[in-house]
């Protein structure tokens, strides 16, 4: 029986920008405009999209690092917004995060032991002396084993490691409480290609060994394709297409998804000819500070009609387990 690990309901997040002029109201950024997603235990959901699509905001909301303007996040059936500060701190053991920048996400002045053990310490600050201390040390040791580092690395500082090793430390930190859910925000985009593959393989192995559920946020379709079971494509704060990996990559329905696939440079395709260039998606993502009435993609969409400007398409079922929000899908 599968269990829903993460469930978001009508998630919205708006930010108010600092006032630029005394005479105009401050602008609002519509970062997320109603996102409903769920992930079953042991599965992995990829969230793809370009900058400004709200994927990082989504990650922060799911990690309770930020509060939604509307809607809520449920982890293992518990609504995070209903938890007290104390309950939330305990609940954090169940969901952990891996950040993009392996240089910035580790405190340069802490040892690896302290970095990896931070969540354990936050859970039970007084633990650490006497018998219980042994188990904490053991938990840290196991996490460091699991990511393929050595236990005598524990007393080193982050700057003694390479980028790939630092990302392993970050994964060990996320893994140490044996969480159900790990949210990874661009975990490999700062790494070299050969090292990126090592980290992706590690994430796969950990999923098999520990049964963790992933939400993987990435701009790289190849990475998402490799790691994820399901993929959500986001554009301007909305999910525009949601499907199983195979379905999505075989038969993308939303014009944005198609454009995204076409834009990925392919090896062995030869230099781009005039015809290739004609099919490139033009324009750029429109401002997040505007409330859009119709389809958010309409201004760049090659298929857009007047209907697209007036009427926002619903995310609707196209096929078994395949949803898209386009009038023409």
């Amino acid at each position: 029986m599968s269990e829903t690990v993460l469930h978001t309901v009508g998630l919205r997040r708006q930010f108010t920008l600092p006032r630029e002029s005394l005479f105009r109201p401050p602008e609002t950024v519509f970062a997320l405009n109603g996102v409903d997603l769920s992930i079953q235990r042991g599965r992995s959901l990829g969230v793809v999209g370009e900058s400004g699509c709200g994927k990082s905001t989504l990650a922060r909301l799911c990690m309770a690092l930020d509060t939604p303007t509307a809607g809520h996040v449920e982890v293992l059936g518990r609504d995070l917004s209903q938890l007290s500060a104390m309950e939330l701190r305990q609940a954090r053991a169940q969901f952990q995060m891996v950040f993009q920048d392996p240089y910035g996400s580790l405190d340069p002045r802490h040892t690896v032991r302290r970095i990896v053990g931070e969540t354990l310490e936050a859970l039970a600050p007084r633990q650490g002396d006497g018998t219980s201390g042994v188990s904490r040390e053991e938990a840290i040791g196991q996490a460091i084993d699991a990511v393929g580092l050595r236990r005598n690395d524990l007393d080193k500082y982050p700057h003694e490691f390479s980028g790939g090793q630092r990302q392993r430390i970050a994964i060990a930190r996320a893994l140490v409480t044996r969480p159900s859910l790990i949210v990874a925000d661009e975990p490999v985009s700062a790494l070299d290609v050969s090292v990126q593959a090592q980290v992706l393989n590690l994430m796969q192995e950990l999923q098999q060994d520990f049964g963790v559920t992933y939400m993987l946020i990435s701009h790289d379709l190849g990475v998402v394709d490799y790691v994820c079971d399901e993929v959500a494509v986001m554009y301007l704060g909305r999910v525009v297409e949601l499907a199983g990996r195979a379905q999505l990559f075989a038969k993308p329905c939303h014009p944005y998804t198609k454009a995204l696939f076409d834009a990925v440079p392919r090896i062995g395709a030869g230099r781009r000819s005039g015809a290739d260039r004609a099919s490139t998606l033009q324009g750029s993502v429109s401002s997040q500070t505007r409330q859009i009435t119709g389809c958010a993609f309409a201004d760049r969409c090659p298929r857009a009609e007047s209907r697209c400007l007036d009427e926002a398409p619903e995310l609707r079922r196209i096929d078994d387990g395949h949803m898209a929000s386009c009038h023409f899908a």
Binding site: S51, L200, V223, G268
Partner: protein, 322 residues
């Protein structure tokens, strides 16, 4: 006679561990209208090579070899003479357009700067030329955007401005160092299209540096793979990607997860990490990460050997590799 030819280029950088070899004997050539892609991971020496071409190496760096541009050895030029070459005959665009543009000046003024310096254009003439350039690089509504500040533009637009600046003096060679790495995929496509189009139209040579094999594949006719400061494989892009000869190129190629190609097993990885320049082994730089490495690999470094038409690789074990 190639437009630009680099012969046995060596660069040593000053670090607090003494002089460290960053580029170790790199040779290549670019014809007029030709395109060369340079692929490699961080620290492979690809950006240092580019900076050596521009004469912009950091303080205390030592250079040996020959960089020949239309018959002149750039390494023999004085700083003043190099200033004339830079921006005028070789232009460069960088990864992060925001940090390469001065935030306090309007973009029109920044593009006009090289026009004034190298082409003596001033006032209305310069402004007309700037407008033409902005239009050429496909910036929407140039007449309005010419007075914008860099922060008022998107990343893709800023990169277009950088390209306009690079084009302003009709350079012979355009050096692009990771020009699309900071951009979104769909914007990356637009910028690559623009670069391709400009090369086709103007006949300038292009050297494109990237870690992304796909970007290289879609933009260049020739490609060079660098590792540990040396060139390990070089050849026409299509045939090179078809028959990767060097174990490093093979490993790099296999390590990239590609859309729509489901791997049943784990991704291919190259063990170990990208080496520090100061810690490079004496022989083949890749030996300690290479599955094919044997005793001979720890001896003298392998030279370039022909493995196909105009396709060369530097490996002691080429026989069984293809």
């Amino acid at each position: 006679m190639a437009l630009l030819s680099v012969d046995d280029l060596h660069v040593e950088l000053q670090t607090n561990r003494g002089m460290v070899p960053a580029v170790r004997g790199v040779s290549f050539a670019v014809e007029a209208g030709g395109t060369l892609g340079v692929v490699g991971e961080s620290g492979c020496g690809k950006s240092i090579t580019a900076l050596a071409l521009m004469g912009l190496l950091p303080e205390g760096a030592r250079v040996r070899g020959r960089i020949d541009l239309g018959g002149t050895d750039l390494l023999g030029l004085s700083e003043d003479e190099m200033c004339h070459v830079r921006g005028n005959r070789i232009a460069m665009i960088f990864q992060e357009p925001m940090t390469s543009l001065n935030p306090v000046h309007r973009i029109g003024r920044q593009i006009a700067e090289p026009l004034r310096l190298h082409r003596g254009l001033r006032g209305a003439n310069a402004r007309d030329e700037v407008l033409r350039l902005l239009d050429r690089v496909g910036l929407p509504d140039p007449a309005k955007r010419i007075d914008a500040y860099p922060h008022q533009m998107s990343g893709g637009q800023r990169q277009r401005v950088m390209i306009a600046m690079a084009l302003s003096c009709e350079p012979d060679i355009l050096l692009a160092d990771e020009p699309t790495t900071a951009l979104d995929v769909t914007i990356q496509g637009q910028i690559l299209d623009l670069i391709n189009e400009l090369v086709d139209d103007s006949g300038m040579g292009l050297i494109l540096i990237s870690h992304d094999l796909g970007v290289i594949g879609e933009t260049t006719d020739n490609v060079a793979v660098m590792y540990g400061g040396s060139m390990v494989e070089q050849g026409p892009t299509d045939s090179l990607f078809e028959h990767l000869a060097h174990p490093y190129s093979q490993g790099l190629f296999a390590a990239v997860p590609r859309v729509g190609e489901r791997h049943d097993g784990p991704l291919h990885t190259i063990p170990g990490t990208v080496p520090e320049l100061a810690d490079l082994p004496p022989g083949c730089a890749f030996a300690d990460r290479c599955a094919k490495a044997s005793d001979v690999c720890w001896g003298p470094a392998p030279g370039m050997a022909e493995v196909g038409a105009a396709h060369h690789a530097a490996c002691h074990h080429l026989g069984g590799a293809v």
